[in-house]
């Protein structure tokens, strides 16, 4: 038997199911609102509740919404990140396959770091003078700006 073919079939079935389930989740969990900038859209998922609550209390609760920090600038960038994240969040949420303490991915952390500079470039101009090395992280010191612990 051709093992890899079976794997392919299995994957196709799983993916179909995932898209189906994802779509179901998308509709039922008011997925359309995911496309807006309304933070309530994120909090539609109860697993986002704590982040929503912590965001409300944070220094940015009144100046930046989730998407300001979690999507890159520009229409295409914004919606492609949303699409990728949206799919995986729905899938993870429905399957339950995610850790209790959600960890931000490297990719999304980069997006967020970019977001800080998007708004604060004036302020940080001087400290970026010596190097614009993008591994120099803002949240190393300002971890709690988006979500007060």
């Amino acid at each position: 038997m051709d093992f890899s073919r079976h794997v392919h079939i299995l994957l196709a079935v799983l993916l179909g199911a995932a898209v189906g389930v994802g779509l179901y989740t998308f509709v039922y969990a008011k997925g359309a609102s995911y496309m807006t900038d309304n933070p309530g859209a994120c909090a539609n998922c109860h697993v986002m509740d704590a982040h929503y609550g912590a965001w409300l209390k944070s220094s940015h609760g009144r100046v930046a919404v989730c998407n300001d920090c979690h999507t890159p600038a520009g229409f295409v960038g914004k919606y492609s990140v949303k699409a990728t994240n949206g799919f995986w969040h729905s899938f993870a949420f429905t399957s339950g396959w995610f850790p209790d303490q959600i960890q931000i991915t490297e990719r999304n952390l980069k997006v967020t770091e970019g977001a800080c500079r998007k708004c604060h470039s004036d302020m940080v101009h001087a400290i970026q003078l010596t190097s614009d090395d993008d591994s120099f992280s803002c949240i190393r010191c300002h971890r709690s700006v988006g979500h007060l612990e």
Binding site: T25, V47, F93, T94, P99, D100, Q101
Partner: protein, 432 residues
Amino acid sequence: NIAQRKQEAQSPFYRVVELNDSIEDPEIWGKNFPMQYDGYVRTVDQKRTRYGGSEAVPRTPDQADPRSIVAQSRLEQDPRLRTMWAGYAFAVDFREERGHAFMLEDQTYTKRQEVAKQPGTCMHCHASVYVPYKKLGDGDLIKGFEKMNQLPYKEARKLVSHPVACIDCHDPSTMQLRVTRPGFMEGIRALKASQGVADYDVNKMASRQEMRAFVCGQCHVEYYFKGPEKRLVYPWANGLRADQILAYYEETGFKDWTHAESGAPALKAQHPEFEMWNQGIHGRSGVACADCHMPYQREGALKISDHHVQSPLLNINRACQTCHKWSEEELKTRAETNQERTLSLRNTAMDALIQLIGDIKAAKAGGKTDQQLEQARNFQRRAQFLLDFVEAENSSGFHAPQEAVRVLGESINYSRLGQVALRDGKSVAGTD
């Protein structure tokens, strides 16, 4: 799925049975709180971490001891412990501790029971004693405690039936946490008095977050049996630090036994997790035992406390990553780095103590009098207690990394001073 989860979120618990203050059996409580009960029964799991957890070691059950699985022997892992405890029951049997499910049978069948007559006091921390105490005291918890303390172990054993159970930590009507152990009520009162707080009543005056550590402090503490009544006492009247507890024993002149090889008036330290945690940065930051050992866990739309009490290193995502954004691997390494440093100095301290004991033994054999040995024996008493305080503390130093190592440093000093005193046959200037 989401529909079910939305539903769950609305009515988290169903009151299936009516609980009251005389229902001991956790299975009955579990009818109302099945998820907590599920966790609770999983404390039978045995899994090792680098320095903690426990290993399931098979054994052949016999007449005296029906257990077919025990935890690994610490005496075999480090035979120096036999020398340290020579003449005391611990030198006969001492194992790595394991989950709560085993506490009653491990106490009942330890070989320590065969070599020493133990009092009913032991029960305080190895069984669900709340209902039995109340029964024995005709409704008065403290009276029941005092009565059970004075029974022989075998008699007391007949009065209890469960390891620590829901009722020992929870009020059945509100499910609020509560302290049910007289030892802790009195110990914390003495401690608070030393800090200028009079008449401290833990169940009235502690905050919810404090209770998330105090319920564990009911048992995970240093203790001794006071007087002929064998009253369980937590030696906290001077404070919780190892040296403050040692000072307490020095003032009261208490000893656990006379060391078989050296003749020193020795002390045994036991599981001072609560005391050490109090010296550490997590304790200081208000991070309670339950935050790490019973972290919140997602059950559908709910968050519940994981009642599978265990090593947090078996559960780093939930136990640590709520607060720390480092990777699981990195967090494990951080904890283990603290543990390694502690254990490396613990080994230096252990060698020093064993050499001191050897020296006193040789001096005794060589005809030195008790008077000539007195000073060295006193150094041994102190060195040994301080070392044992860290040795017996079950986090291998994690709960208070710097303090654990400081205490070991003082222990080393005493052991070596004992050797010097022995050689000088007189007091060493400025150190006594």
